[in-house]
Symmetry: C2
Subunit: 671 residues, 2 copies
């Protein structure tokens, strides 16, 4: 690569990004001018001289990825997208942060062409980028052949002081160093200011450079990041040249650069400049035009080169792919399948089946199902937060993921649950690979911020959570989920499945594997459960709930609803009730979300309105169960924290017994 | 301090800790032998030669604090507590991990004398220790006087590889370095093994020593941590001698030390050794006694010295406090108040009041209430995650917390929400200070693992969460809470308050300040709301719900239940319904938990069973509302993610209008 020389035209382009951004923020009277003003030079140099992307084909698979981890600086990204020719007309820039615009306050994946990740919750974008860089390596390993570098692209993230203070960024940075992700580059907008003031308030001692060196990163510096385009260019070149380590480019900038009265202060961080300061800023930047949203024609022409270069690169890749398809037709087919997230036709046949009565924990059943899914979906990449021996989530013979080569299908994330989940999001954003990640259910709390983003962005991540109730036993209340089912069911877009036996677990995995428009969670037991017989009507886990055992005689007096391990308690209670002349139907309800999505007639068939005596039984908080059991229902659950003792003891002590459920049914019947 | 010399008796004591631990784990057939075997030497040297504690008076305020962050090694702690004379008889050691024992699987604060923090969820204990060290400094600053070092103690944490991989540990370590907490020491059990295998799988590149140096810590090494008692002693001395920086002592150990077939492997981490390997281990350790749970009498005598030394230290402190009480009677009174968490009598009078109709955001009202609470409770320490300008949570003239001196009442945590919350827990565990912490409501997700521990342990932390709904507006869905209210209401032990106006906010702060047996959350608006008039029956926020506007004529056809900003929508809907001849009562329900705790007659008075037409209106997920609105009710809420636009636009577009609520009431009435 030759060093680029930069001219006044380049500086005009930088200022075009700046003025466009602050004009939009001013018009919206809302937004964060500080970052676009300070980070425009690094962004310009990256996008103009390095980033390989095709504005007219934003999802071209071998493009470089760019993540604006500091999502509050969204106008920087929108300015870049608009200027380089993405489908983001000036009218959208002028509708920044308005209802139904394509320029929301923080970048939203799937909403705006060219936005690679939804960012804003700090730290997570930096972890998403790690996931993208891992996906690149995994795809390169799987698909590249001698002379056919089908996959060969960089991942860049623009990160801020706030990003790097977050624990998730620390976890992700540590793992990226461990994995030697040489094609990952962070541009760190080190302006020493966060929303509340200078970072000296909170971040003085920490030497970020040493910290990233300790993680195994290359660290580079650009001291005059507001003006030194050549320095930025050289640093990015050096980062690209280091292929054995990720690179952190520390760019010293001035937040709000150009704003005479606000630059360098937290005041410029999150408030529009105001009309007067905006004019002063433009003057200070040497901006001649008074009119808002002005793009000088020579700048426009320069930015247009991006689109041209992008099309060339994309066209060259398309030609490469055509040759590849002729040379390796099977691989090309697999490539397309991987991009689509598709499974092999008829793959379900390979899923395991268990004989009625066969006893095993659903985590073990899941471990077996994973092997079938892994065969049917070669793009599946598993992962664990140091508990794979307990969660049973290793892909057999998959090998450990190796970050330089991209080989291996089991990622050992270490005890880094939050980064693990954000990295899985990054893999989903990238495409071509399908991640599942696993830990104990109680630690889903550590993952929550990233689960929310997966749900919001319809990312098909799969969560395998085992040790799903107080039946965990001896580890005690810190390790026993109580409120977790409720708290996750409350999250829009997430499908939670708590299967009641090995066969339901198989069905749950089928659903998870085939669900491409959002994350799916499998909530599994530590303890063994007897396998159920297939209902005469067939498995209906995919409908969220179904009649697992009809009331004797067919007209129920009461309905008992169970999930997971407690379905068996409901079944036993049904027998006890029958002895007392009460006809109880037992409904298995592995997924509220899937059941709620069924049509009214199916729901009525499972839970007829006429049967008002209802009991739910689930070893978790009763919160929310009123929805299914109604005013007359009784919820058997646990609304306190658990205790340390053998699991069977706890279930009994806390009332998860057939006797207690039967008694609840009688109460619900008013007897 | 003179260097201690260690003898065979000391080595016998170390092995007593080891064998007692593995015997208990073996009897329970459950637990983690690896850590106690490896970390017994460092724990012994610390407890024997350094830790100032009084087994017969475990809550003596000036004791050193010891946190076993790696809580899975609980038997190490129980062995130490038993041997040094805490109220933990051998029968409890023998009941390890059993129902109702005082030796649960992970250490539980408040359950076992001498356990300073509930640990197990990794990383958090290390952050708790940071909070304890900050509390120590704050109390020293407030109460120490020349010649009266009332507060002068160390905080030690035993941390593991798994702890240090967690993001929360990284955040806390960074902040501790920034704050120069010289009386904080981590003993790092660096055994290079986690549950799933060697750390080389996940942690190879990261140079933990450099990382902590980059945070501003002193880093010390002990290379032969399994045997080198003198080296451990010297390192702890060096750590104590460094008063300007926290210290990390990296102790290289062998996990499962002594177990011939398991030591150094992950197999020894989380499984009992088994009878045969246990015997081999005892033999390898040179343990003569075959009998389980044997404590040699000479070891017993040596450990007894701890209790004697502890009593002496405690007695000396008590004498100091007596003299202090005579010299500074007012301060001594304040000290007792601070320890009890008490407020000044009649303090509520200083809380602000707003005129009906006066418009302001509840976050602003909270900001004013905070000043009154801060005056009435000098032990209150505020904190923010870099958003204090937006959350309005600075204690005026409180100054910024300074970690060396302990001065200042506003902790600037930086963008480190998880550590902030765990540190607040640490302050609560320590006692004498009362923390509140703040950020945007949506980022409560980042805090969640630590909130859960606060709730489980009845810690009186206060959470101030502002920007509480999609009315946040332009920042868009990443910043708009949806499922957060439901997900937090599902958590046992947490009280969530969402006040509807400035006056309700004052009442909410009163409740939070006075609630000492668990965490309380205030959920506050960004946008202005009109202040309500005091109901004729007086404010009843503390009862969780009350009649804010009675139906005309007094016999309601329908009940509209609102929380926070949406109460005003309900009130406007009531007027619209009246025009249509429908008499609607409006209930303000700031807290589900407090209302659920009222007696049946109060609940019936507010929500009479006879009125089945009910509507809830809340700008959040409808999840769980069926509990209050019943089978015939209609929940007005939002069960999807929001969007970026001005807040008013969003509220209207998503149906938070009087028209929509009135229509819902008609539907609920079957009209």
């Amino acid at each position: 690569m030759n060093a680029t020389s930069f001219t006044d035209l380049d500086r005009l382009c930088v200022n075009t990004i700046r003025t466009l951004s602050i004009d939009a923020i001013q018009k919206a009277d809302s937004g964060h001018p500080g970052l676009p003003l300070g980070a425009a030079p690094m962004a310009y140099v990256l996008w103009q001289s390095h980033l390989r992307h095709c504005p007219s084909d934003p999802t071209w698979p071998d493009r470089d990825r760019f993540v604006l981890s500091a999502g509050h600086g969204s106008m920087l990204l929108y300015s870049l997208l608009h200027l380089t020719g993405y489908d983001l007309p000036m009218s959208e820039i002028q509708a920044f942060r308005q209802w139904k615009s394509r320029t929301p306050g923080h970048p939203e994946f799937g909403h705006t062409a060219g936005v690679e990740a939804t960012t804003g919750p700090l730290g997570q974008g930096s972890a998403n980028a790690v996931g993208m860089a891992m996906a690149e390596r995994a795809l390169a390993h799987r698909f590249n052949r001698a002379g056919f570098e089908l996959v060969n692209h960089m991942t860049y993230a623009l990160v801020s002081d706030g990003d790097l203070m977050e624990g998730v960024a620390a976890e992700a940075g540590s793992l990226a160093g461990h994995l030697k992700l040489g094609k990952l580059v962070y541009l760190y907008d080190a302006n020493d200011v966060t929303l509340d003031g200078p970072t000296s308030m909170t971040f003085s001692t920490e030497d970020v450079a040493r910290r990233y060196e300790s993680y195994g990163w290359q660290v580079l510096w650009v001291m005059q990041g507001d003006t030194d385009l050549a320095g930025l260019d050289a640093a990015i070149r050096a980062a690209r040249a280091e292929t054995a380590k990720p690179s952190l480019i520390i760019v010293k900038t001035t937040i709000g650069f150009g704003s005479p009265n606000r630059q360098g202060t937290s005041e410029s961080h999150g408030k529009p400049l105001g009309a007067e300061e905006l004019e002063l800023t433009k003057k200070a930047l040497g901006w001649a035009q008074g009119e808002a949203f002005h793009v000088p024609s020579e700048a426009r022409a320069r930015f247009d080169e991006s689109a041209r270069r992008g099309r060339q690169a994309r066209d060259a890749w398309n030609q490469l792919f055509d040759r590849y398809s002729r040379e390796f037709p099977e691989l090309a087919k697999e490539w397309k399948q991987a991009q689509a997230g598709a499974l092999q036709v008829g793959w379900e046949a390979a899923l395991p089946t268990w004989k009625p009565g066969e006893k095993l924990a659903t985590r073990l059943a899941s471990g077996k199902a994973i092997q079938a899914v892994a065969k049917a979906m070669p793009s599946l990449i598993g992962g664990d937060a140091d508990l794979s021996c307990s969660t049973n989530t290793l892909i057999a013979e998959g090998g450990s993921f190796e970050g330089q080569k991209g080989s291996g299908r089991n990622v050992h994330y270490g005890v880094r649950e939050h980064a693990m989940t954000s990295i899985a999001n990054g893999m989903c954003y990238h495409g071509g690979v399908r991640p599942f990640v696993s830990t104990f259910f109680v630690f889903s709390d550590y993952m929550r911020p990233a689960i929310r983003l997966a749900a919001m962005n319809h990312l098909p991540a799969i969560y395998v959570w085992t040790h799903d109730s107080l039946a965990v036993g001896e580890d005690g209340p810190t390790h026993q989920p109580i409120e977790h089912l409720a708290s996750l069911r409350a999250m829009p877009g997430l499908v939670v499945l708590r299967p009641a036996c090995a066969n339901e677990t198989r069905e749950a995995w089928k659903i998870a594997a085939e669900r491409l428009n959002g994350p799916t969670a499998l909530v599994l037991t530590r303890q063994a459960l007897p396998s159920l017989a297939e209902p005469s009507t067939g498995w209906a886990v995919h409908r969220g709930a179904y009649v697992a055992a009809e009331a004797e005689g067919g007209t129920p007096d009461a309905i008992l609803i169970g999930t997971g391990s407690e379905l068996h308690v409901a079944l036993a209670a049904r027998t006890q009730l029958a002895a007392q002349g009460v006809r109880a139907r037992v409904v298995s309800m592995p997924s509220w979300e899937l059941f709620a999505a069924q049509d009214g007639s199916y729901r009525e068939a499972v839970l007829p309105k006429s049967v008002r005596a209802r009991v739910s039984v689930e070893a978790g908080a009763t919160f929310g169960w009123q929805r299914w059991i109604g005013d007359q229902g009784v919820a058997v659950g646990i609304d306190r924290y658990g205790a340390s003792a053998p699991g069977g003891t706890l279930l009994k002590e806390f009332g998860f017994t057939p006797e207690n459920v039967a008694a609840a049914a009688l109460r619900s019947l008013g007897r």
